[in-house]
Assembly symmetry: C2
Homo-oligomer: 300 residues x 2
DNA sequence: CAAACCGGTGCAGAAAACGCACCGCTATGT
DNA sequence: ACATAGCGGTGCGTTTTCTGCACCGGTTTG
């Protein structure tokens, strides 16, 4: 699209950090690119780049413009897919930033079911922590985020929230396997593994330990991979902690999950959300609606 | 702005109804304009105009594009005023579509107070009925709407709602002037004036009459101007009906207002809203926040 | 059935964008 | 201390794009 060329150049310069570097990437002369940038700034009425000795950098006005550019590009993509819909073709793309816990079972099942009805729709799914997911939303790099509390950004619009009590995952022959609800003190009295502090599970556990005993928890194994922890718990007979939505017990014959007593540890909130005020592409909006339905039935 | 030229031409053609007429309006040759339109359609991938014997008309894809164009233009304006803010200048423009009732006292007071703090901000204020106001929002012709229930459009995002019991307005020496709350049957037993059916006041009165007595109300004078009705009530000693937010009794020595008993007539809801999902220009967002504060204190 | 409009096209000239060569400046590395 | 490499910016001739003019074929209108 001709009229978005300037925007592409601006983003190119931003990426490359200098006009000259960008000019190579974009197959154009540095002088021509320079003139386009200057001309744009002139028409726009404000400079958008700071000129530094070794290149350029966006100034605050440029940052605002950048957000507009991304919003504009995203809305244009939405428009095109909407128009494509008119011609009877059901296409589209959905990009999701989600917590690791959703990757093994929940999302694959959801997406494959959705694609059964809409085979033309493609997906991008990436594991992101809360902060990253929020940033991706605001940069229009992801349409939908599915992460755990707490959030830091005001632009994250929560569309659906769902409480998730932390579960202990352990072998069937573990001493605690008989309980229906596990007290935190019991769980911690056994060797256990726990995620690092950037994960909501760990934060909730630490909160509880601090509230109950003013202490910190001391996992024998710490990891950023829930997959690893779950498997490790199986090998060395440890207690692992996880949100139930990340579990699919039918497929784990030797492992079972039991909820921690909510008197000890408050449940985490799984949040489905998008960038505040954004009109999602049709496919993403549809898929989000499906997600809400699935999550709602998950409540039981 | 160079890159919005195509959009301006498209809107020009839409307005004029034909390429030739639009070409005159926009000081360009018909052939050149025709080629721009064709080229845009080619790049866009879809035709956006239906070619008719006497001109052109938007097709469904064009309608979608039109909405994108308007959203895009509005967001660009927001961006520019936001950038202007960076330079220390507090400028901006606020456009409001509101019910007639807000025009005499409420909005002038609000706006003048706001302009006291921000003299650079300009305003457009228009009286619109609900349907028109909703349409203006969706066409980005107005930023803010302040109207009474009920709404018909899903894209109207209610930001603040406030119950307004209908008041009877009459002369101080009217027989009902002594009451603190007026029963509907009493009010209707006197000569009265009422707005036409497109106004919420009338709808609520009719609903009440239908519910209570399965009848319709029979005003002696019917008008679309609340100003006229209020003044007429003064001249011929009649009962007039109005929402209290449209009244400023200190300035009407000879008139008083008394609420209708809420057992008879349900209150109307005054709704402050904007187009769903839209990011308002800074000035409009600010003014809306002020409006909310004022309305909230009005509750007492 | 002619006149009035309509969208579309061929062609030549105007305007905009571009590539090349080069300038002045500054951080960097020897 | 000084050459160098990398940066943004500029003058100029060339290429690409856009525009205006004249004109075509088709349809409605009076």
């Amino acid at each position: 699209m001709r009229h978005l060329k300037d925007y592409e150049f601006i983003e190119g310069v931003l990426r490359a950090g200098s006009i000259r570097k960008a000019s190579e990437d974009m197959h154009i002369t540095a002088s021509a690119l320079n003139r386009r940038i200057n001309k744009f700034e002139e028409e726009f009425g404000y400079e958008i780049f700071e000129r530094l000795p070794r290149g350029v950098r966006l100034n605050p006005a440029g940052e605002l413009l950048l957000h507009h550019i991304r919003a504009q590009r995203s809305d244009f993509a939405r428009l095109k897919s909407q128009v494509a819909d008119l011609s009877g073709v059901r296409r589209g793309h959905v990009s999701i930033a989600c917590s690791q816990a959703l990757l093994p079972f929940f999302l694959p099942r959801q997406i494959s079911r959705y694609r059964g009805d809409h085979p033309g729709v493609t997906f991008t799914v990436n594991a992101r922590d809360r902060v990253e997911a929020e940033r991706e939303l605001s940069e229009f790099a992801s349409d939908i985020a599915l992460v755990f509390e707490p959030l830091t950004m005001v632009d994250f619009e929560v569309v659906f929230a769902m409480a998730q009590p932390i579960h202990c995952v352990m072998r069937r022959d573990h001493p605690l396997a008989g309980e229906q609800q596990i007290r935190l003190r019991d769980a911690l009295s056994f060797p256990h593994v726990a995620p690092s502090e950037k994960f909501a599970v760990r934060v909730l556990l630490e909160n509880a330990a601090h509230r109950l005993w003013s202490s910190k928890i001391t996992p024998l194994i710490e990891s950023e991979s829930f997959d690893f922890m779950r498997h490790y718990a199986e090998w060395e007979d440890m207690v692992s902690f996880q949100f139930p939505i990340g579990l699919d017990m039918e497929r784990h014959g030797d492992l079972i999950a039991r909820p921690l007593d909510v008197r000890d540890v408050e449940p985490g909130n799984l949040l489905l959300g998008q960038l505040r005020g954004r009109t999602l592409p049709v496919a993403s909006a549809r898929f989000m609606r499906e997600l809400m339905r699935s999550l709602r039935t998950h409540l039981n």
